[in-house]
Amino acid sequence: MFPESVHCLKTAAPFFPQTVLLKDLRRLCTHGGASHVQPSRHFAVSRPLAAKVPPPRKPRERVEIPGLEMVTYGERMHFVPGLSKPVNPQWERDYKDPRYYKAPPAHEMPLFKEKPCFVYNQRTSALEGVRQALWLTKTKLIPGLPPQLLSLTESPANQIPDQDERVQNAIKHARFWDTTQERPGKEKYSNTLLFNLLHLCATLQSSHPGIGRRILSEKYSLAATWKRGEDLFQIRGQNGLLQNCMDPLPEVSGKQEVGHTADQVLETLYPVSPTIDLQQVHMYKEQLNCTGFRDDYPYPHAHTLYFLDGADATCKLRPEQFRAKMLMFAFGNALVRAHKLYGSQPQRVLDRPITVQAVGTNGRIFQFLVLQLNTTDLSGDDGIKNQVWLDENVELYDFAKVRPLIKKKQVKVPAGLAGYKPEVFSKFLALYLHGAV
């Protein structure tokens, strides 16, 4: 500050003798106060030279010596160099204001528990996919759908008149006609296709009155808790479209096969722990079991879950992780139903195994899943296991192109629907009609 102020004084007042001026200035300006000020604020004209960013300075450590009282300048009401800064007691608002609420630290919250709980939610992408889900749910995998389900659609009574043509129309509507743009987006067409197929299946209601005892529901929050080994697991989230039914699904495999599963050994995931990618929480409610509906809901039994791949834009799951999610949520629904029927104590064998189905699609490729819950005693690795029939990666059609694929002036794939496979829809219909035939 000195050179500039000296300079301006020099230019302003040439009649001041220089020596006096400088000495006086130095004396006068040493107190560092507001010298030669104008009534307006002035900004310092100096700028520091280029230097490194100073490291963040740690505030001086305040040492508390018991028995020794610090002399503060609090009483004097102004800063006094040499005295310590007064420490005021923490002021707490005596009324509740939601704008200024500070949550207590984690271990003071009422629901805090030392033991962590591993939560599987709808955005979890399990590293090992279906293998990890099988271990977590103590399930045995059987590839392919159960034969009695597949034989359901073989009789013409369980088929829709003009089935192939109507399904192809449904696909064309979803992929080509349902937009004002050139082609609809993936989330849109997978959603439209699913609802079109459901509508087609529901046209059989006249001949199958059981279909009338069902209802579709969306955005319900599921929560189920179970113990596996030493750890507590929970499955929570809003999974997808659920078809509820007034009557439970019949069991798929008999008591003998269920007994045979006791001899099977679960596949271990070593060196990866089965809790990988699961959300670890310390604040949870124990024994949290919630179907998502109230107890007096007229359609208590979960029939089929429908999962759409593109439903959550932020969460993109690979096919393996998508199948794992389907399995986990089907298991969650079945487990919650078992807890409601048989109580929350683990049961070694359920008298009536609970069956839940799941269908997942990305608009073209379908995954079918049938889960039968045989036991709720999941803490040990031995004993009766649950069963799951999984049919993965079945394509409903090969191509649905808006513009034909032409390579070297030859049409490789024509425009429109190509490669339609009718058996996939019969599987879909079989899963739909299961329980109503």
């Binding site: 302003a12 006068l28 507001a34 010298s35 030669h36 280029a50 590293l127 060196p271 990866v272």
Partner: protein, 298 residues
């Protein structure tokens, strides 16, 4: 007399009650005087701008480790003052940074100092370095490490901090302390100080050689043929670093260099001095990173 009057005049100017003005300031005051006396009282001048020369902010937002790739800010060779510190850097394809865990011997929370195994989930290209990186999963955590030569998805790699009496026959990709490995093994990701994390031999295709073991310390040869002496508890991984053909690649065109973020060098012809040309020198003396007790202390 004159001096006294000057002094008094100067002193009067400093009174807080009446701001006295010098002539140039008086001119400015009269110009602004039409606005009337300012309501703002006297105040200490203060700097209202921060130093604009220090524009170094870190683009890293989290302290926690995550396997998600994060967006990176390029420096262009500029340092915190904004001037070029290193020439020839700038532009190039955008790169996302994947946090690599260089401290291989990092135990999980539940595991207390036991050797552990991890499974390689995937091996992929990393834009930020010449070597490939591998996502490994062990226990309930995943992390990125520098991949070794023949690492593939599905491999199991072991990390151990134990030094036994016998040397371990190590497989490629495993990490052991230097004292546990036999002499002559090819190693990479060398730690100079135990627990600090590896800082040496991380580039594509490089490997160091374990030369000999001398009570409590180990002597290694780095890829530059420089010899180095470190404590035997320092962790190291076995094998060569991945992407061994990195030095054999042909850039092909200037554009590819620009994609890599390398700007052209100065075209000014400069007379080559003593720094240029092939040098044949004896090896530099061995660098010792161990505080050995001096020989004089008997």
């Amino acid at each position: 007399m004159m001096a006294l009057s000057c002094l008094t005049r100067a002193l009067r100017s400093l009174t807080l009650s009446q701001p006295a003005l010098f002539s140039s300031q008086a001119i400015t005051q009269t110009r602004l005087g039409t606005q009337g006396p300012k309501a703002v009282g006297q105040c200490r001048g203060f700097l209202t701008t921060t130093c604009l020369e220090q524009n170094r902010t870190s683009w890293k937002q989290t302290e926690k480790y995550t396997t998600r790739p994060m967006g990176m800010k390029k420096t262009g060779g500029r340092d915190q003052s904004g001037r070029i510190r290193t020439h020839g850097i700038g532009g190039g394809h955008k790169q996302k940074y994947r946090c690599i865990d260089f401290q291989r011997l990092r135990y999980e929370r539940n595991n207390n100092a036991q050797p552990f195994e991890e499974k390689v989930v995937e091996v992929r290209y990393d834009p930020c370095r010449s070597a490939d990186i591998a996502l490994v999963a062990g226990g309930s955590r995943k992390r990125w490490i520098i991949a070794t030569e023949n690492m593939q998805a599905g491999d199991i790699i072991k990390t151990s901090g134990v030094i036994g009496h016998m040397a371990v026959s190590a497989n490629e990709g495993d990490a052991y302390p230097l004292g546990a490995l036999p002499v002559g093994t090819l190693v990479n990701n060398l730690e100079i100080q135990p627990g600090k994390g590896s800082e040496y031999i991380r580039a594509a295709g490089t490997s160091g050689i374990l030369l000999r073991k001398v009570n409590g310390t180990v002597i290694l040869q780095l890829p530059s043929k420089q010899q180095v002496q470190v404590l035997e508890t320092c962790m190291v991984t076995v094998g060569r670093v991945s992407n061994i053909d990195h030095n054999k690649r042909i850039i092909g065109k200037a554009g590819r260099n620009r994609w890599l973020g390398i700007r052209p060098s100065s075209g000014l012809w400069q007379r080559k001095g003593g720094w240029a040309g092939r040098k044949i020198k004896p090896l530099p003396p061995m660098k010792v990173y161990v505080n050995l007790p001096s020989i004089s202390a008997q």
